[in-house]
């Protein structure tokens, strides 16, 4: 179809819309597009960080295995697990098991909160060690700036996700939202998890303190 010279006008079959080329609801499409756009935003920030890190000779390597890397491992575990529980929640919702869906969603929200708290605790620890946006005890002041910007942007996404998931879960309970909405915000939550998978190696693991 869709040829420019279909010359004979034929009566159209029932249905009032052309089908979407992707066969997904508009809201889900918008979420996917938002994810593309947000991925570009994160890329820009990570590239800026990488650009500066690459160009800075005295870049600090402050992350020790204990506690920093262990903390990161725990945080990664929690976030990936929360992604998995989100998946379970969405599955339950799609199967019509409302109470189970809400339960799993709240487990996700709780995991997100724990992640955010651990992250803030880590920030506090670094701030306690003297890391600021513009200085730190070990080397280039850019470390604090880029660390707090990258992880801060991610943390904002986590906190936003926690808030939205709470609202959506409560709304779903009351019937204001349906399983589609839960699925769409689930996509967002998975994306936040996905960004963390890039933040961990580039922001943490490249800056570990080595034994030498």
């Amino acid at each position: 179809m869709s040829h420019a010279n279909v010359s004979i006008a034929t009566p159209q079959p029932v249905g009032v819309m052309e089908s979407s080329p992707f066969s997904i609801p508009s809201k889900k499409l918008v979420m996917w597009l938002f994810i593309v756009s947000d991925a570009v935003t994160f890329t820009a920030v990570l590239f800026a960080y990488g650009y500066l890190r690459n160009a800075t000779p005295n870049w600090p390597h402050p992350f020790r295995f204990s506690p920093s890397i262990i903390n990161v491992m725990v945080m990664t575990f929690i976030l990936v697990t929360s992604s998995f529980t989100m998946l379970l929640g969405v599955r339950a919702a799609k199967e019509g098991n409302k109470s189970k869906a809400i339960l799993w969603t709240f487990v996700t929200v709780a995991a997100g909160l724990v992640f955010a708290l651990l992250h803030i605790r880590e920030w506090m620890g670094l701030i306690g060690e003297g890391v600021r946006l513009f200085q730190n005890p070990w080397g280039s002041g850019l470390f604090g700036a880029s660390f707090f910007s990258v992880t801060g942007l991610h943390l904002l996404h986590v906190i936003g996700g926690v808030a939205v998931l709470t609202v959506v879960a409560l709304g779903y309970k009351r019937g204001r939202y349906n399983s589609d909405d839960l699925e769409i915000w689930g996509l967002y939550w998975h994306f936040v998890d996905l960004v963390w998978m890039f933040v961990v190696p580039f922001v943490y693991l490249l800056n570990i303190t080595r034994a030498s």
Partner: protein, 106 residues
């Protein structure tokens, strides 16, 4: 047409395996981080592993694998295209490290 919903009624095992795989890769990254290898190699390996993680999450947790293939292609193409073109910024980053081109006098 197969939609995400129909697939999701399938087993949970697949997703659990994906979940474990992501965790294992996360662990692997930490192992790599402590190896004594060239930074460029390390960055490459880290990136490759992170991309695999992300790919698994997108394809299975976010069900992109079971959506229409054209959606996956569109999104992947758009994101990868934009990110690839953005890579031109690195040429200047490396120059800052080396300092001045033709530097002979200071």
């Amino acid at each position: 047409m197969k939609t995400a919903e129909e697939h999701k009624t399938g087993g949970i095992t697949k997703y659990f395996v994906v979940y474990l795989a992501i965790l294992v890769i996360a662990g692997l990254q930490i192992v790599i981080a402590y190896q004594n290898i060239d930074p460029s190699q390390m960055i490459f390996r880290m990136f490759a592993l992170a991309a695999i993680q992300a790919g698994l999450a997108i394809m299975f947790f976010m069900h992109l694998w079971t959506e229409k293939r054209v959606l996956m292609l569109t999104l992947a193409f758009a994101t990868i295209f934009v990110i690839t073109t953005m890579n031109m910024i690195w040429t200047d980053s490396f120059r800052l490290l080396g300092g001045v081109p033709f530097a002979k006098y200071q």
